[in-house]
Amino acid sequence: MVPKWLCALILSSLAACDSSPPTAPAGFAGLGSEAEGFSAVTPGEPLRFPADFAAHPDYRIEWWYVTANLTDEQGKAWGAQWTLFRQAMAPQNEQEAQDGWQSAQVWLGHAGLTHADGHQHADRLARGGIGQAGVRVEPFQAWIDDWSLEGDADGQLSPLQVSAASEGFKYQLSLQAEGPLVLHGERGFSRKSDRGQASWYYSQPFYQVEGEIEWQGEQHKVSGSAWLDREWSSQPLAEDQQGWDWFSLHLHDGNKLMLFRLRSDDGSHFYSGTWITPNGVSEPLDQELITMTPLAQTEVAGRTLPTHWRLQVTGKGLDIEVQALNEQAWMGTGIPYWEGPIKVTGSHTGVGYLEMTGY
């Protein structure tokens, strides 16, 4: 178990170790604070693969994020999350970041397993530079302690093996991509505010999953779909942005949808999204096309969060309600947030994942 005092370290100016909501002015988890000395995210430079599968230590924050919607033999729905965060305490080039204990990189792993009546999570912390955690490209491998995300072909993100284990739960999933990588925003340059804040952001939303999960000693064979997010930045949030609500949806008609809104103190939220067709053609969605309406609030871990939403995308004929599979899918980790599987009903049906931060 990671000591409580460390919980805030990863994102340095956060004051949210306890159960009270974060009140840091510089955006959720300090992501809106100044990033002096780190590289800035600017449009123009295209993403290069497989190089951009790897870590970018000249940027402050980065993550490898897998969410999977699964069904077991009895038809019961599950959700699995596997995340590796990287945070640089100081700007470093690639070589310095690998230099033993001199590395300023801190790695943080989060894992969660959810079904309608239960949710478990765990976290791991590690220093970079010594081999306890990191990301390698050929073959692709992202790991922290005994949790890993591993590919077996050089320079490819498919197939992938995802595994994590902690007290009370574990999973081992095989991911096979059935479509191309998707770049969000302008060829991967994803705006986060009207004032220039942005991140590099791409996804692999087309994974088919087979695997095994274990819940308190009980094993289940599962299958389903998964979504990988890759994002890095130095200052992804504007100072007044407190958090975000982010959706990744696998619609049953084969389309995929990513939507998020960044909530400002003054209520002028920033909306963004990507519509992905079954053959992998992506289309950025303009702010004014997106409507996100919370329908019901739930008390979770002493806070009130919207776990039932109405989502509309003009021009795509999308008017859906999404509902949490388990409203209590709270990640009570160092930086606490809500992350869990959702069900989609309405004009379209499907499954997906919802992440809510800064409540």
């Binding site: 305490m89 912390l125 306890q132 302690d145």
Partner: protein, 824 residues
């Protein structure tokens, strides 16, 4: 009512105004008793607080870690391998660094930690709450966490970046008060640089919950579990602190004798006053309350003074204490005193309790006083007879308990119980012994003055017995402790001479350097022989023990001092079938020569015949000598620890200095015999200097007790001496007779104190020492020391008696005459 009380109190207190010396004595008694007791307690609590800080640092009190089987640094890769296998381990690297400070070189423990993986149970984990601090700790240039007391001891300030003796510079110092004293805590990466151990670790700390059932390690990780049961440091130093406590308690009791004497005297002298007050209508209850209130005031006054002085005394001694604990046990104790409110309150409480015990008796006696009482001639004789009888019964009972404890007691506490019973029992038997001796003396024919001299001396006993008991106790304690210390000193010095047979000792940095040094020594013509040895710290039967591997060399058989051995033991030892064990290990594990010890090793059980037992004074851990070949066979990676070098005596200093320059070794790695002996003896002296200081103070306290008693008696003496004056003896003669009486009583007490002191020394050497340290000392006699102490005691008595005798001599006829009218 309050007014009424006020008047009674005022009347009673007027006595002290007229007898300021008496008041002074009472306060001095309380002051000394409290000061010595609280001083010792301060030292103990200081040490305990330091141990606690060390024990709680990482994972609370019980610590389980993974270490190299040979106790060597190991590759950092094991940490990664275990983490990748899901083990909650955290890397740590510890070593010793030398910091050249204002008061010479100070050795400090430097520990490197990795804060992100450190199990969250210890102090450090909670300490690191401040995240920006933590980031500063991990990021270059890092921080050196250090306890505030250690920082000021070193004469450094926060933010300093001192340079170590090795030339490496410490990260900026930052005060963290929960750190144990003498420790520098840095990030693991910094520690690897400072200790020159790149990518090396000395242990992996394991989260307590995971370590509970000691899961088996993966094959590729050649580490072993090490469980540090309950805190070793506390266990090892326990006996040391118990000794200090006992000494403090003794001083406290002796101090209370003074209080007792002064309080009794004051009550005796205020007998008339009390009767008058009662006759004036003051109720018994009021009187009791006011008397107790008076005691309370005195206790608070004397107690406060005592606690303050106790603090000063402890501050004076804490440096020595810290040094000796460091030398003896490697225990780090802060050299700067810091005490909490509880300590001050406990000190005052002790003083209050002591005053009640010492003065309460006289208050109760005053309560039983009839309102109108007439002096009854010969009454004292009955009273004294009763008192002596009571004390004798108690004394005999205590001595019986002491005898029982010798046979059945088997703990250190029982050892101290034995000491207490012996001392108190003997003290209570003192009046009986003195009375018997004086009666015998009276039987001898002689003139009337001589008859009177012996008879009157008996009468004096009741007034002086308490002071004489104090003298007996102080003197006996001095003789006993002195004999033990002196005996230890002689034994220790002789033993060091034998044990340190080689002229130079070298500790190479690693195996490669050891090889090079051995080759270099082979080319030195003045070097006669090299005695390499391999050491391994492990546990045998749960007791921390050092295995020492020695080679086949006749020097061992010639010089190694054995207490007991099987015939021709060394060839068997060298053959790997036997072992020699240190006295304390033999005692702890109940091993006798001829027994077989089954030693657990990584290569299976190693059966070893116990071939001999040797003294290993001052070492709280156990030690075993085994064959070097056998040791290396079972622990193949064990590097050579040290090389003893035999040289031409004249060449030793040159070879030592050549070794230092040739191999760039520090003073602590190349040490010649003389320096090593000096170091050992210095530790010894430091250990006993606190004891010696307390002991001398106890004797001083006894002299004050005697002085107080005599002072009080001098007044009442007049009525007893007046008839002799009337019969024609001059005041000068009377004064001389009084002086002679005092000296006779004191001399008799001293004579009795010597056997008691020897009995005490026996108990210390044969019972307490064996229980506390596991070694027995050869018996030594020190008649010159006893004589010196007796002379010192007599001089103190003489000094105390001269004043009262002088007053008798200067008494005019008018006062003597008046005593006939008052007397009765």
């Amino acid at each position: 009512m309050i007014r009424h009380w006020g008047w009674v109190l005022h009347t009673l207190l007027s006595h002290w105004r007229r007898h300021p010396l008496q008041a002074g004595c009472l306060l001095v008694g309380l002051w000394l008793a409290t000061a010595l007791w609280t001083g010792v307690q301060a030292l103990n609590s200081q040490a305990r607080e330091s141990y606690d800080r060390a024990a709680e640092l990482f994972t609370g009190s019980a610590q389980t870690a993974l270490v190299d089987p040979a106790g060597q640094p190991f590759s950092q890769q094991y940490f990664i391998t275990l983490r990748r296998a899901g083990w909650p381990v955290s890397p740590m690297l510890s070593g010793t660094v030398e910091l050249v400070g204002v008061e010479g070189t100070r050795r400090l423990q430097l520990t490197g930690i990795e804060p992100l993986t450190l199990p969250g149970e210890g102090t450090i984990a909670t300490q690191a709450g401040d995240q920006s601090q933590l980031q500063a700790f991990m990021l270059a240039p890092g921080l050196t966490w250090i306890a505030g007391d250690t920082l000021s001891e070193l004469g450094l300030a926060a933010g300093d970046t001192p340079v170590l003796a090795s030339g490496e510079q410490l990260p900026p110092l930052h005060v963290v008060d929960t750190l144990p004293p003498g420790m520098l805590l840095v990030d693991i990466g910094q520690a690897q640089r400072l200790l020159e151990q790149t990518e090396k670790l000395t242990q992996l700390v394991v989260a307590a919950g995971f370590a509970a059932d000691l899961p088996p390690l993966p094959e590729s990780v050649s580490l072993v579990w090490e469980t540090r049961g309950e805190d070793d440091l506390v266990r090892l130093t326990d006996s040391f602190h118990l000794n200090l406590t006992a000494l403090g308690l003794l001083a406290f009791v002796v101090g209370l004798f003074i209080v007792h004497a002064a309080a009794n005297l004051a009550m005796e002298q205020r007998r008339g006053l009390l009767q008058t007050l009662r006759a004036c209508g003051v109720s018994l209850k009021t009187l009791l309350a006011v008397l107790l209130f008076e005691l309370l005031i005195l206790a608070l006054l004397g107690g406060s003074l005592g606690v303050l002085s106790g603090f000063a005394l402890a501050a004076l001694l804490v440096g020595d204490l810290a040094a000796s604990l460091r030398g003896l046990y490697g225990a780090q104790v802060a050299g700067q005193l810091s005490l909490d409110a509880l300590w001050w309150l406990t000190g005052l409480g002790m003083s209050l309790l002591g005053t009640l015990i010492a003065g309460g008796g006289s208050v109760l006696a005053a309560m039983r006083l009839p309102v109108l009482a007439w002096a009854r001639p010969q009454a004292w004789r009955e009273a004294q007879g009763r008192m002596i009888k009571r004390q004798t019964v108690l004394g005999v009972l205590l001595l019986l308990v002491a005898g029982g404890l010798i046979f059945w007691g088997d703990s250190l506490l029982a050892g101290f119980g034995l000491l207490a019973c012996l001392l108190l029992g003997a003290a209570w038997l003192l009046p009986l012994c003195l009375q018997a001796i004086l009666r015998v003396a009276q039987l001898r024919r002689g003139g009337p003055v001589r008859q009177w001299f012996w008879a009157d001396s008996q009468q004096q006993l009741s007034g002086l017995s308490v002071a004489l008991m104090a003298l007996l106790l102080a003197l006996a304690a001095n003789i006993g402790v002195g004999s033990m210390t002196e005996g230890f000193r002689q034994t220790f010095t002789g033993w060091l001479d034998q044990r340190l047979a080689a002229d130079i000792y070298v500790r190479p940095l690693d195996s490669q350097q050891a090889d090079v040094i051995e080759k270099w020594l082979n080319h030195q013509p003045q070097v006669h022989a090299q005695l390499p040895s391999w050491q391994l710290d492990t546990r045998v039967g749960g007791w921390p023990t050092q295995l020492s591997g020695v080679i086949d060399h006749p020097l061992y058989a010639d010089t190694w001092p054995l207490l007991e051995n099987a015939p021709d033991p060394w060839p068997q030892l060298v053959a790997g079938t036997g072992t020699m064990v240190s006295e304390q290990l033999a005692y702890r594990l109940d091993l006798a020569v001829g027994d077989t010890l089954m030693l657990d090793t990584p290569a299976g059980v190693w059966p070893l015949n116990v071939l001999g037992r040797y003294a290993d004074y001052g070492n709280p851990k156990g030690q075993m000598l085994v064959s070097a070949a056998g040791l290396q066979q079972r622990w193949p990676d064990l590097p050579l620890t040290s090389i003893g070098i035999l040289t031409e005596p004249a060449a030793a200093p040159r070879i030592a200095s050549d070794l230092r320059t040739e191999f760039d070794l520090g003073d602590s790695r190349v040490i010649d015999q003389a320096a090593l002996k000096a170091y050992s003896q210095q530790i010894f002296e430091q250990t006993f200097s606190a004891t010696a200081a307390l002991n001398t103070l106890t004797l001083g306290v006894a002299a004050v007790a005697l002085f107080t008693s005599l002072l009080g008696l001098a007044d009442s003496r007049l009525s007893q001496l007046a008839p002799l004056w009337a019969m024609g003896l001059r005041p000068g003669q009377l004064a001389l007779l009084s002086l002679a009486q005092m000296l006779v009583l004191a001399a008799l007490t001293c004579a009795l104190a010597i056997p008691l002191g020897l009995a005490l020394a026996w108990c210390l050497v044969e019972v307490v020492n064996v229980q506390a340290f596991g070694w027995r000392l050869p018996w030594h006699w020190f008649p010159r020391q006893w004589l010196l102490l007796v002379l010192l005691a007599l001089a103190a008595v003489l000094l105390a008696s001269i004043g009262p005798a002088w007053r008798i001599m200067r008494t005019g006829p008018a006062r003597l005459l008046r005593s006939f009218t008052h007397g009765a």
